[in-house]
């Protein structure tokens, strides 16, 4: 069990390292170094910096040195919590993305919660009442969920909401809470606004999980122990919920690890369409404006948080599935 945790932790660390390298590559990719871009940005806003200042910045980031040194310097800064400056805002990156990063995770986790709470009962229902009208309806919705990319779904729902209900369904807060400090009322407002993005984000995953759950449970229901349980006179709910559902849940849980990155990834583009104040819109503007420290940091933080989420879901999996615990 301990060796399982250590192996997972090691893998998580390797992944984080890979993500730092990729983020660094993204920061480095545009032509010219970022000091040049920074100077240009400052000049266009009317506050040029002197040649000496520019040279000092270059030295700080080690721009005259080889890539590996630059990477090491950048990593050193990141580890100390210094993510550089966001050009367009002229503020440290950390200040800008803090809240938005939290909201990204809130939206993603809400989508996953919703996926589970919806997919589990429907999957059980579809398996127990195989080929019933309800089963067909859910299969149909499932196909829609798989075939309609989530940003298109967002687009279409927004259009319908605008056209037929004359309301805007975007955003995560009502206007009066937008800039208000956190309070219970604001959280309530957030929860109300969260349902739709969570539904849109979770639909594809829900569809897939229903299919997996249904197939797994159907396999289990055909096994002799279910017949035995029935013959012993257990109530139908007990027969189904106590053993087959638990057995069918294992592969269900093991997909979480891959599902989390997928949802985070999707939340970026859905946020853009729905205008959610997550890091999604920020990432796009940063990339378009070649604000590479901001963009690189967002990619880095998203990656790191995803890896952490995956690690946590691995631990949950271990808790659910005794086979992993026993294997050691």
């Amino acid at each position: 069990m301990l060796s399982y945790i250590i192996r997972r932790l090691f893998l998580a660390i390797v992944t984080v390292w890979a993500i730092t390298v990729l983020s660094f590559v993204i920061i480095q990719l545009p032509p010219g170094d970022f000091v040049t871009i920074y100077i240009n940005a400052l000049q266009s806003s009317g506050s040029p910096i002197s040649f000496g200042q520019a040279e000092a910045m270059r030295a700080e980031y080690g721009l005259d040195q080889p890539m590996t040194v630059q990477y090491a310097k950048w990593m050193g800064m990141v580890l100390r919590g210094n993510f550089g400056m966001a050009l367009a805002w002229n503020k440290p990156v950390k200040e800008i993305i803090g809240d938005r990063l939290t909201l990204t995770m809130v939206v993603s986790i809400a989508a996953i919660m919703l996926t589970w709470t919806v997919a589990l009962p429907i999957g059980i229902y579809s398996a127990v009442r195989q080929y019933s009208p309800g089963d067909y309806v859910f299969t149909f919705i499932g196909f829609i969920g798989i075939a309609v990319p989530n940003f298109m779904l967002a687009l279409i729902l927004m259009y319908l909401g605008f056209k037929y209900f004359n309301m805007s369904i975007g955003g995560l807060f009502s206007a009066e809470f937008e800039t208000a400090p956190w309070s219970l009322a604001k959280i309530g407002d957030l929860l109300k606004h969260l349902i739709l993005p969570a539904l849109i984000l979770g639909l594809a995953g829900t569809a897939q999980l229903i299919r997996i759950m249904r197939a797994n449970l159907l396999d289990e229901l055909r096994k002799p122990y279910v017949v035995t349980a029935r013959a012993k006179g257990l109530s139908e709910t007990r027969v189904i919920l106590k053993y087959p559902v638990r057995a069918a849940l294992n592969p269900f849980a093991s997909t979480i690890g891959y599902y989390f990155p997928y949802v985070v990834s999707g939340s970026i583009i859905v946020s853009l369409v729905l205008g959610l104040p997550t890091v999604g819109p920020l990432l796009l503007t940063a990339l378009v404006a070649q604000d590479m420290f901001l963009a690189g940091t967002i990619v880095l933080m998203l990656g790191v948080m995803t890896v952490m989420g995956t690690f946590v879901s691995d631990l949950i999996l271990m808790w659910i599935d005794p086979r992993i615990r026993m294997e050691g």
Binding site: S23, I146, A147, F151, Y258, P261, S265, L284
Partner: protein, 370 residues
């Protein structure tokens, strides 16, 4: 199995049938998969014949005719079958002073099939024939089956070219992923041991990185002065660098299970070279699985390209793809004024469904125990 009822005859047929025949028989019974196959073939047909199916030059800009709503073809003229379109007359709205176009019932332009339109080229052959053409005026000026975009370009014609780009980027991207997947998955499954562990960990690492932010970063970093072709190729490479993991997993799984088969051991004992064992003995037995997995991988490619281009970080104009077309439909205000801009979602959804059905059918057909 097929025709189990008419006993000995059918049984004999099955026992001598090749693997592909068996697959075909099983596939035939899958109604949804057959529909999927037909739709996919249709879409690739559109992709190939985009020039012929379009009637307007997709790059023809006419700001005067921006955001025209769809105008259908009138099929009957005074009770007789004689398809035509009405001309459009521009007037000023007396209240808003906006330029509006109304159909002019006095002006009729006959529609001809296989008529002449803008010139196009295929394999060095020049022609100006199109499925639909207008006589007496340029199609760009009077025929708007699905309306026009902001710059007055005809949506139908652009959709045809967009289908070509999107369908082929799916195909090319999957081919690249397939190459990487077979290479790395094959090495992983065939050699096993520490190489296997390394590649498996690599796959896990890649899969735990959220893809869209990464793609956005890489897509935005492509130099602005690259040509359409270069960007197209670069985007395909970016997409397949991450897309190969699923295919590699399938290939590895097959290799692992086949490595233990008796006939592979027999081939080894008979002194076959490794290359011969892999390509002559192992690959044919799981080729069908690979084809099914490949079919199922195309939709993901198409969605990814559409998403990237939709954000403006994928293909860039003048390239036309479904994602590029949907860029115009990015905000609700635009949609409220011109809802037809959202039409490109339809082919995306249809082709993804069709590919999924086809892939599911192929996978079931390829699995002898299914």
């Amino acid at each position: 199995m097929a025709n189990q009822t008419n006993a000995p005859d059918a049984e004999e047929r099955i026992s001598v049938a090749t693997q592909w025949q068996l697959m075909w028989w099983r596939f035939r019974k899958h109604a949804l998969a057959k529909v999927g196959a037909i739709v996919v073939i249709l879409f690739y047909g559109v992709a190939l014949g985009a020039d012929f199916l379009a009637y307007s030059d997709p790059t023809f800009v006419e700001a005067q005719r921006s955001l025209l709503s769809p105008h259908g073809i009138q099929w009957l003229d005074e009770g007789r079958f004689a398809p035509f379109v009405y001309g459009l007359k521009g007037t000023r709205d007396p209240q808003t002073f906006k330029r509006v176009y109304v159909t002019d019932p006095n002006q009729k332009y006959p529609v001809r099939f296989f008529g002449q339109g803008f010139e196009w080229q295929l394999l060095g052959l020049k022609t100006d024939r199109h499925l639909i053409a207008v006589e007496g005026a340029k199609a760009e000026e009077v025929l708007f089956l699905l309306g026009t975009d902001q710059l007055g370009r005809d949506l139908w014609s652009r959709l045809m070219y967009g289908t070509r780009t999107s369908m082929f980027i799916g195909l090319v991207g999957v081919m690249l992923s397939l190459f990487l997947g077979i290479l790395l998955g094959g090495i992983s499954g065939y050699y096993g041991g520490s190489i296997d562990t390394f590649i498996q960990r690599l796959i896990e690492v890649i899969r735990s990185i959220p893809t869209i932010p990464l793609w956005m970063g890489l897509g935005a970093a492509l130099p602005k002065d690259w040509s359409v072709r270069q960007v197209y190729f670069a985007i395909t490479v970016i997409l397949s660098l991450i897309g190969w993991t699923e295919l590699a997993r399938v290939v590895r799984g097959r290799f692992l299970s086949l490595r233990e088969e008796d006939y592979v051991t027999a081939a080894e004992l008979a002194g076959c070279s490794q290359m011969r064992i892999i390509f002559r003995h192992m690959v044919p037995s799981f080729l069908s699985h690979i084809i099914a997995a490949t079919t199922l991988a195309i939709p993901a490619m198409i969605i990814s390209e559409t998403a990237l281009s939709f954000l403006g970080l994928g293909l860039r104009p003048p390239a036309v793809s479904w994602g590029v077309l949907l860029q115009d439909a990015q905000n609700v205000q635009a949609l409220a004024i011109s809802p037809w801009l959202v039409i490109p979602t339809i082919p995306v959804v249809v082709v993804i469904l069709a590919l999924n059905f086809l892939g599911d059918g192929l996978r079931d057909a390829a699995d002898p125990y299914g």
